[in-house]
Amino acid sequence: MKLLPHWVSRPALAALVAAVAIGAVVPKVLGWSVYSQNQVTETFLFVAAALAWNWMGGYLGQVSFGHSAMFGLGGFISARLLLALHLPFWMAWIAGGLVAAGYALVWGHPTLRLRGPYFSIATIGVGEATRLVMTYWEDLTGGSSGLSLPITAGLKSELYWWALALMALVIAGSYALRKSTFGLGLLAIKSDVDAAADVGISPTLMQDIVLLLSGFTVGVCGAFYASFQNFIEPGDMFGFDRSISFVLMAVIGGVGTIIGPAFGALVFVILRQYLIGSYPQLYLGIYGLLLIVVILFEPLGMMGLFFRIGRRFGLLRPEVEATLEAKAAVGGAAADPGARTGGPP
């Protein structure tokens, strides 16, 4: 059968289809309360956002602390469109995503020449500048009093299926961006931009494409979030802790892996629910602590643990584990510093 590209593995496809089927059936069978179903919807949403962040931070090794800019922009553009033009909400989401993608390209195209920490620092600036502008741009965002969206309870429960579909699409996209020949090029760029360029890759073009995809998806997630929340305000949508939350989800789950950020998002949502309820003043500090612990002891997060367990029980051959870990590692050279020999040229 030649329907599928050669890099699609049948078991992976089957697993995705099964997961979506389970997700579609479970709420009917279990008869969830409205509250629990909304929790799951929000989790799906953050799974999608964390995976889209990971395309930049994990696949390209360009860790962004400014993704709240696209999240917020997608949210407010779609909210305005919903309020002013009464578009169907999915149309407003796509419009929000497109504007977010365009904005990502505007700041990302010049800053993606920077690599590593330099890029990350630039994204902090972008995120904060965007937050400030948006807080004062009252015609768009309603300023600090925010915007209210007319959402009925019926629509809100319908959003579960939309979130499921969005998440499934983004998981499929994550798989494609890693396993396709395009993904091989991204890994080469992450490892060594100049060497990649010297064998004919155009790093600028490929990084811009990933940035557009990531910005679009996070923008759609922001738009979805706006529809889901009834009320949005710039401080929450564009806030720095919003950006950090994407980083955290990816790092907890396994930055640079295909599916890790999805697990990270799950843990993040549960943890936040508990922390905001019990220790609202502490929760940012605890996130920071968690970030440090994960990076120190298991840089690949939960996926790193899974790899270890897999090897321990003989499910994963050591050399397979090694290649998986190398592909996930941020910065290819960092995976094996001893491999480079000689001094600077």
Partner: protein
């Protein structure tokens, strides 16, 4: 003999430093051209300009009538010029096979059959059984062969090899020399070779050009070039006996002899390389 690649008045200025100073060179079809010169002579900068990684300050590079300099490395690769790196730069996060596949896919934008072409090249470079491993596990010689295989995967007409022999043991050096020869013979490529290991340069090159302080100071058949007084002066200093062989410097292969005695390849089992300028008080006054 037809000229395949021509550099015309190629210069590169970094601030006040003229790294390469109007160098002309031509590469004939099927030829191996050696580029030698002391450290800092501008050899690698010359390569970077030919390969499109840095734009020349002035001058241009023409491949079969088409200007390839001043664009991107991709333009040069698409046209058929590819380089390897002096310090090997394998993609550490990809397997040996995937490393070569990147070249096969992106070199000429031909993803179809990339895997087969990559495997064939791994055979050619004696890396077939290493295909599923990460490059970190290869020896330096292995990584240099990987660098070569990845470059060949882009299906070049002209191959720029930056010190692919230096730093490996004598047996591996011999293997690499044979490999370079068979690249030329079996794959019909033209090659420009930067190399410090003199015996290899002398054996491989049809012609040699010598760079010193960014300028081309000599050009010709290998045996003539090493006898050229300007070349000897560039390597060993104007008054070699004091400058290069003074106290504290390492004994050089031509130790005990002045500039009059010529460092010919046959009498030089060890590279003359640039030991005077590396370790001694400096090859040039």
């Amino acid at each position: 003999m037809t000229v395949i690649l021509r550099a015309e008045g190629l210069s590169k200025r970094f601030g006040g430093l003229k790294a390469v100073d109007s160098v002309d060179l031509q590469l004939n079809d099927g030829e191996i051209l050696g580029v030698i010169g002391p450290n800092g002579a501008g050899k690698t900068t010359l390569f970077s300009m030919i390969a499109g990684s840095i734009p020349p300050t002035s001058g241009r590079v023409v491949l079969e009538g088409k200007v390839i300099s001043g664009g991107s490395p991709r333009r040069a690769v698409r046209a058929g010029v590819v380089r390897t790196h002096q310090i090997v730069r394998p993609f550490q996060n990809l397997t040996v096979l995937e490393n070569v596949m990147v070249g096969a896919i992106y070199g000429k934008a031909r993803p179809l059959g990339a895997r087969e072409r990559a495997l064939e090249l791994l055979d050619f470079c004696s890396l077939r059984e290493r295909a599923p491993q990460l490059p970190g596990g290869l020896t330096l010689a292995g990584r240099k062969r990987l660098e070569l295989a990845r470059a060949l995967a882009t299906e070049p007409r002209v191959l720029l090899l930056d010190e692919v022999i230096a730093g490996v043991n004598p047996a591996e050096a011999l293997q690499m020399t044979d490999l370079i020869r068979s690249v030329r013979e079996k794959r019909r490529l033209s090659i420009i070779l930067i190399e410090h290991v003199m015996p290899a340069v002398m054996r491989l090159s049809d012609r040699v050009i010598v760079l010193d302080a960014g300028k081309k100071i000599a050009e010709g058949k290998p045996p003539q070039v090493v006898k050229d007084p300007r070349v000897i002066a560039a390597y060993l200093g104007e008054s070699a006996s004091e400058a290069a062989l003074g106290p504290g410097s390492l004994p050089t292969p031509v130790s005990g002899s002045g500039p009059a005695s010529h460092p010919t390849p046959s009498s030089n089992p060890t590279p003359i390389s640039s030991s005077p300028s590396k370790k001694g008080p400096g090859g040039r006054p």
